[in-house]
Subunit: 338 residues, 4 copies
Amino acid sequence: MIIVMKPNAAESSILAVTQYIEKNGLKSHLSKGEEVTIIGVVGDKSRISSENLIVYKDVDRIVPVTESYKLANKKFHPEATSVKVGNTVIGPDNLTIMAGPCAVETEEQLMTIARAVKSSGATILRGGAYKPRTSPYSFQGLEEEGLRYMRTAGQETGLSTICEVVSQEAIEAAVKYVDMIQIGARNMQNFILLKEAGRSGLPVLLKRGLCATIDEWLNAAEYIISEGNPDVVLCERGIRTYETSTRNTLDLSAVAVLKERTHLPVIVDPSHSTGAYKYVPPMAKAGVACGADGLMIEVHNDPAHALSDGPQSLTFEKFDKLTKELKPFCDVVGRSFE
Amino acid sequence: MIIVMKPNAAESSILAVTQYIEKNGLKSHLSKGEEVTIIGVVGDKSRISSENLIVYKDVDRIVPVTESYKLANKKFHPEATSVKVGNTVIGPDNLTIMAGPCAVETEEQLMTIARAVKSSGATILRGGAYKPRTSPYSFQGLEEEGLRYMRTAGQETGLSTICEVVSQEAIEAAVKYVDMIQIGARNMQNFILLKEAGRSGLPVLLKRGLCATIDEWLNAAEYIISEGNPDVVLCERGIRTYETSTRNTLDLSAVAVLKERTHLPVIVDPSHSTGAYKYVPPMAKAGVACGADGLMIEVHNDPAHALSDGPQSLTFEKFDKLTKELKPFCDVVGRSFE
Amino acid sequence: MIIVMKPNAAESSILAVTQYIEKNGLKSHLSKGEEVTIIGVVGDKSRISSENLIVYKDVDRIVPVTESYKLANKKFHPEATSVKVGNTVIGPDNLTIMAGPCAVETEEQLMTIARAVKSSGATILRGGAYKPRTSPYSFQGLEEEGLRYMRTAGQETGLSTICEVVSQEAIEAAVKYVDMIQIGARNMQNFILLKEAGRSGLPVLLKRGLCATIDEWLNAAEYIISEGNPDVVLCERGIRTYETSTRNTLDLSAVAVLKERTHLPVIVDPSHSTGAYKYVPPMAKAGVACGADGLMIEVHNDPAHALSDGPQSLTFEKFDKLTKELKPFCDVVGRSFE
Amino acid sequence: MIIVMKPNAAESSILAVTQYIEKNGLKSHLSKGEEVTIIGVVGDKSRISSENLIVYKDVDRIVPVTESYKLANKKFHPEATSVKVGNTVIGPDNLTIMAGPCAVETEEQLMTIARAVKSSGATILRGGAYKPRTSPYSFQGLEEEGLRYMRTAGQETGLSTICEVVSQEAIEAAVKYVDMIQIGARNMQNFILLKEAGRSGLPVLLKRGLCATIDEWLNAAEYIISEGNPDVVLCERGIRTYETSTRNTLDLSAVAVLKERTHLPVIVDPSHSTGAYKYVPPMAKAGVACGADGLMIEVHNDPAHALSDGPQSLTFEKFDKLTKELKPFCDVVGRSFE
């Protein structure tokens, strides 16, 4: 941490800061410039509420120099992590395709979709049983019944399964039925849920919050890992910007940034980010090209009558065409894709 | 709802849409322009997943014309709501000041602050017992012990009390100790928590999410009210933008917009939005000037050593100066302020 | 400037950086922490392209500690500046109201509006003769003819006058007819235009760009001042965010921030920022409450038939009501208002 | 255009709107729902200031249904446009690589870089002679001298050349020396400059503004084309968001959206958008994968000592490696790349 003093800070102000630092068992390094004095702080910063130093007289700015996440940090864990999900593995050398409906609607619908996505190359079946919806009057999901259908579909097809959870109760149910749980964008900073996910024993797909910084996202992953669960996969799903041509703005640079900062696998969701099925194929390809370890894609047997997010769902034909088109990209980037 | 067809949409495409609408018990009105055909939909839109119509051939756009929130909507409830909190009332003719520390630290600290804010004119004591923090390694709050201190401080000073809740467990504890619960920005779309707050029996302060639209915010309020709890107060606390000079960007226009759209009281939080004590007084005054029913302000006996959010906390002297300066603004806008 | 090295940076990497710094006549201060080494740089930073140091081996981050604007900086010019515009003055102890139509349409229209806004208390007449419009097919303004009408209206009513300029040619025309020129949001980083405005001899109202940071805005002011023109007034007019309930998001915190960072007067434009006449009065009051030196408000004799921005224009009655309501706010904040 | 009336709008209010529409030679279609009445407007909307209708009594919302840009619109010009630049062509079946330094510094530097990028596969040399810089104290470019070096470098290597212009004067100079001009992000809505570019006779690369919507961007292209210049190429270069890990957020979805809306070629600039050389290769590949017609990449012989934007510049080695890696992507997407 660096403390930048104001120009012409009084000696007494500088002394007050260094005394506070040293009283708490840390060391200070003074660097007096012509314009400003800078105080470097060395030691265990958790001993002080460092942001508060801004309140000290003549302090201009506090500049942190180390990240607050450790377990998710590539600096301390340089090799890429791979995460086992049921009978498949996410990262670092293959491309994982998670596909399925936004919401589980009926057992028959789910089974039909599961067979279709399996035959096109998906290895993980996605399907929402607990749906966070903007309006209380929208369809909220089949809950545990939906999870049961997921288990059946997984068993019949050999696909691994993933389901979003929104509460402790949902996690407890999910543990019984699926192979991976998902924390959705709206719950990325629901720290209670993150801790519970960390204690669930299941691998966790952590979606980026709609306005979360990459730093906040990695801190959210840290919540899960620090509860003893190292199996975290990150999923970029678009951030909120002023542009309205797409539902959100898919931030593919985040994939490149994450590959520098963390050892965790990274998945891209071109369906929720764009909100329109037409834009899913080009964004899926771009995701693979820039280094994603996998894709999460919504597929529906009848998008026009889907109970949730129909506009962004691919039909079976479009999904099959896309996976065929993705294969040569996998070859170029050197990822296997069954 | 209006469906805008593409230029030169085929007759068969138009027919497919109108048949779908009418098959579901709704009526369609056709308006054929020189460039485009428009289909108005009349009836109970909850019968169809209207967004899916975008998937129909030759459909260009779907334009909703009614809001999805009803109970929070001023159109159906024109008079301003006032919300009773302990022995005080929020809205519509007075200015409520909620003040206190970001986090409850010790009983003594809380009591000292409670007495100070009471003597300066606050009527509700705020204090965090469950702290959502970006990093798992930051101070997370005293939990139930903090709530107990809140009750004691309320009883001794006569202040009503408010505390943030982050889980069902926290709500159950809060019900025993405080007069109002707060749903924080990070949980604004934690729909499980919203429903539980709606069943708690306590009035709820609902903070705006960091990147929530006003429409989403009112839908979140709808979740609470639709569980049978009409006592919802909205709190603008800044939205995330690209500007970094303040922690977030306080969106005071939202106060004016809310006054058009909803009957619920609106509070402004100049502390979390700006993140800097210097900017709290001007933003508090601006909040009152544009019509807010109250303010939530962080006050601390020793900001430099606060366990959370010291930089934005006012000292007792600064808070007292501010409340004195706010009085003439209350006179101008015609609000009482004890 | 501070250079933060990566953890375990090689000695040779640190040496390379310090040698580069010292070779260019600057001094370096080393601060070795347990985790990272920090290099403070002292001296005239304009001698090096400091951002490039990030390219050096083992450099993690470059942290600037001084602002790049000097002439606009309150640190070096603590007293508030007041700017003379025709026969009136902007800042620091009065409230200036600029009012008039978005676009000058006819001489008669302008004269009618000028008389109305004068009688309600405005001291500066605004009116657009060169209109930057999103579409090339929208009305683009009367150009020099419009400026002539502005001069006539100013002379007849005694109002000072302001007009937006979009080119060198427009500046040359404006100098002949009006008392102040305005650089609009879209041209805030049109550096050629800024320099020309700096050489025009007229005071300049510099609107904030739609996505300009406060720092970029002050640097834009620096362009004008560094050409020898100290008469710059800043105008907050809303920034672009994801929220669509208002056209832009009025950032009133920026007023408070500017009052800390610069000595230049600050004006608030509640018309363009909200885009809706209903929201103009509350935002105008909030602007005064948080310390603005003036307001820019659009007024039109017949908003429903205005050639530009009708929806946000106040009628004469609404404008007169607003100025009457603003007076007590001026009394509270201690500003004179004729 | 659709006019949505408020619930329970008075008959007289509906009549006032329809009379205004019909008085101006347009036709109205009424659609009365149970909740709201909708008025469709048919005919030449340029006859009325349609946005003003919001001011009419009981009008709730105005919904435009046609785009304001025509010449840039794919609806009216379905085949993809290709743009000739010197002796090369941009779009639709090849991948154009523009490369070179951010700023032209010396003739020798430019020549060295030109030879290197040519040998790695670039067909257009980029180089800034007029640099828009945030601070007036930063290097502003060599101006006409820089353009002369560009011409020489183009002639010696056979590369076509492109240079940013910031004023009418710069355009007049550029016409003499280079093959294509660029309108930078900060000038995307400098409508005077757009019109001048439209009359220049040179093809124009139009960069997206930092906070421009895709709709505004296409309207800016319309300004150029409507002056008689059809040779416009769009360049996505990142938009401003809250995320600070990259300089801007590269919006690759915009490429997919543009391919739906316009026939103009689209280029991606991974250098300015990310601001960091490490992120250039993955984002360049992603750009090709999602359908871009070309890339603009900054290359410098000595990034650590570049006068502008060193941190994002590739060295010759890195650039050569990247172009080699891009070739298989071109094969997959079916684009030729020399």
